[in-house]
């Protein structure tokens, strides 16, 4: 399928991502923040699609937007919203914030000045049709170890959560 209006979609989705990011940190109501985050994740999924990574985009939607964010909302709804809404949202971490912003800005400037030379140029546009297969081969071949480490980490997290939540097992 021939790409349509690529530039427009790129800027549109990027802008949406940025906007939702700003909304996430400025909304006082945590539920609104979470909803903005979902919007950002969806926009990111669109960006993945534009990078010819449909599988990642699909997984992004299923896992992040559909699964994890719902659990986020779940937790946010169970804590007392009225109280957290009245509390001062911004804690006194201006210094750390400014440092992080400066560092990130420096990185951006670096990337901008060095240009695309920083990244290996894609030799060819990967074939879209077997994208999923390629990811699978990479995950279970080249990056097998990292993949298994990640799953082990998650397993530990699950067990930890169960232990914390349940007195008797």
């Amino acid at each position: 399928m021939a790409p349509v209006a690529t530039t427009f979609f790129f800027y549109f989705l990027s802008g949406l991502t940025l906007l939702s990011g700003i909304l996430v940190i400025t909304r006082k109501n945590p539920v609104h923040s979470a909803l903005a985050l979902i919007l950002g994740l969806l926009a990111q999924a669109g960006l993945y699609l534009m990078l010819y990574a449909p599988f990642v985009a699909g997984v992004q939607i299923i896992l992040y937007a559909g699964g994890i964010m719902v659990l986020f909302l779940f937790v946010i709804m169970l804590v007392n919203i009225e109280r957290s809404q009245k509390e001062e949202q911004f804690n006194k971490q201006w210094l750390v914030g400014i440092l992080a912003a400066v560092a990130l800005g420096g990185l951006f400037v670096l990337v901008y000045t060095k240009g695309t030379g920083l990244f290996p140029q894609a030799v060819s546009i990967p074939a879209e049709s077997n994208n999923t297969q390629q990811i699978g081969e990479l995950l279970y071949g080249q990056y097998m170890f990292a993949f298994e480490i990640a799953s082990l980490l998650l397993l530990v997290a699950i067990i930890g959560a169960v232990v914390m939540a349940k007195k008797r097992i």
Binding site: N29, L73, F74, M77
Partner: protein
């Protein structure tokens, strides 16, 4: 412009793949319009079928045999007062039904009604469907939270827990079907909806019967999980009227409420379409292997027309049985008109070019209709699960079986 429009007609692919925006838009209108009509028909059918299960007549007043009842309902819902509770979070309250509606309609983009009758064919089609349909959970959660009321909140918590739990079992069942698509010479499977049906065509078997009973078990798991996904009886806890009044949409009224309903029915049709695509051979007609040959092809291609003629006949019998009284004149005329329309559709379906292009759609819709009927049947027969039992069924029964089926399918796929 005209060239652009006509250029697609020769192509043997979906408008999305052909990159033809005009035809894509046309398809979108046709599919979404069709789904909306199907939802209305489903509404009528559910009320009628449920009524007959329960020895009632169901709607009889609006139009012959209540045929216009969905329209009357729609008019009623649109003209009702739209109430937003004072304490509700207005924005979230407003957007929640739209999210559900969008999520359940977006999936229709990739549903293949025929080899070329889809808006587009994504190479991650099934993943896309699962992902987008899982977004409807968000709408449910938001609706429950935004109402700022206890019943909706509990309903939405139940609903999200339920939908996430059953999505996993559902996903496992789907993966085992996808594995089956890779059982060809080149060993490449596909996630594309059209590709899945074509794989069944190539392998000369519906995946329902593949590695019997593995395919059947996977299908059964999906069939159960999809009922839970769409919050229908016996898994309708989020909107259990006897416990939580109406669950997450308790505070909704009028138009917004009808959007929920529209979304729910559209989602039912969508998940049924997934089941049909994955296991029941999508648009393929029954017995493509055993009943082959030009004669059988002709018989099966004529079937749609005959079925519509039979429906028309039933309508005319209804006309004859109508009481001969001035009071019923309009109703009788309406039913006769309905019969004539059905008959005309049947006759049109006999025209060879139409016949060839339409019969795929017919078989697909017919298979989906079976699922729709099952939905009604469940609702008439089963009591409601309790929440912990529901979770138990999802996590302790369906998920292990689904994983087992997946592993066995993989092993068989490698061995055979």
């Amino acid at each position: 412009m005209l060239d652009y429009i006509t250029s697609y007609l020769g192509m043997n692919t979906t408008p999305g793949q052909a990159g033809n925006v005009f035809w894509a838009v046309v398809y979108i209108f046709v599919v979404f319009g069709g789904v909306s009509v199907a939802v209305m028909a489903m509404n009528w059918l559910e009320r009628k079928a449920l009524a007959h299960f329960q020895i009632r007549l169901g709607p009889m007043r609006v139009g012959p045999h209540g045929l216009l009842q969905p329209i009357a309902d729609a008019v009623k819902l649109l003209t009702k007062e739209d109430i937003i509770p004072d304490e509700a979070d207005r924005f979230v309250f407003w957007i929640a039904p739209l999210i559900i509606l969008c999520a359940s309609f977006t999936v229709y983009i990739v549903i293949p009604f025929g080899p070329t009758h889809a808006i587009t064919d994504l190479n991650i089609g099934i993943l896309f469907m699962l992902g987008v349909s899982s977004l409807s959970v968000l709408g449910v959660v938001m609706a429950g939270w935004a109402s700022n009321s206890h019943y909706p909140l509990i309903g939405s918590l139940r609903s999200s827990a339920q939908m996430i739990s059953y999505e996993i079992a559902m996903g496992m069942a789907v993966v085992s079907a996808i594995l089956m698509t890779s059982l060809n010479k080149s060993g490449t499977g596909t996630l594309s909806m059209i590709g899945i049906v074509e794989a069944q065509q190539q392998q000369q078997i519906w995946f329902l019967f593949k590695f019997f009973p593995l395919g059947f078990i996977a299908f059964a798991i999906f069939a159960i999980a999809m009922v839970a996904e769409t919050n229908r009886a016996p898994f309708d806890l989020p909107e259990a009227e006897s416990e939580l009044t109406a669950g997450f949409h308790t505070e909704y009224s009028g138009l917004r409420w009808s959007l929920f309903m529209l979304g729910e029915y559209a989602a039912m049709i969508a998940v049924s379409s997934i089941a049909v695509t994955l296991w029941l051979g999508g648009w393929l007609r029954p017995f493509p292997n055993t009943l082959t040959g030009a004669t059988w092809d002709l018989v099966f291609s004529l079937l749609p027309g005959f079925i519509f003629l039979a429906l028309a006949l039933i309508a005319f019998v209804g006309v004859i049985r109508m009481p001969k009284h001035a009071y019923f004149r309009i109703q009788t005329a309406g039913l006769a008109g309905f019969g004539v329309v059905l008959g005309l559709i049947g006759l049109i379906l006999f025209i060879p070019p139409v016949r060839d292009r339409i019969q795929d759609i017919f078989w697909f819709v017919a298979k989906v209709a079976v699922f729709m009927y099952l939905y009604i049947w469940y609702r008439a027969t089963f009591p409601r699960y309790r929440f912990d039992q529901l979770m138990k069924v999802g996590w302790k029964v369906l998920l292990p079986i689904a994983i087992g089926v997946l592993i066995l399918t993989a092993i068989l796929g490698v061995v055979l």
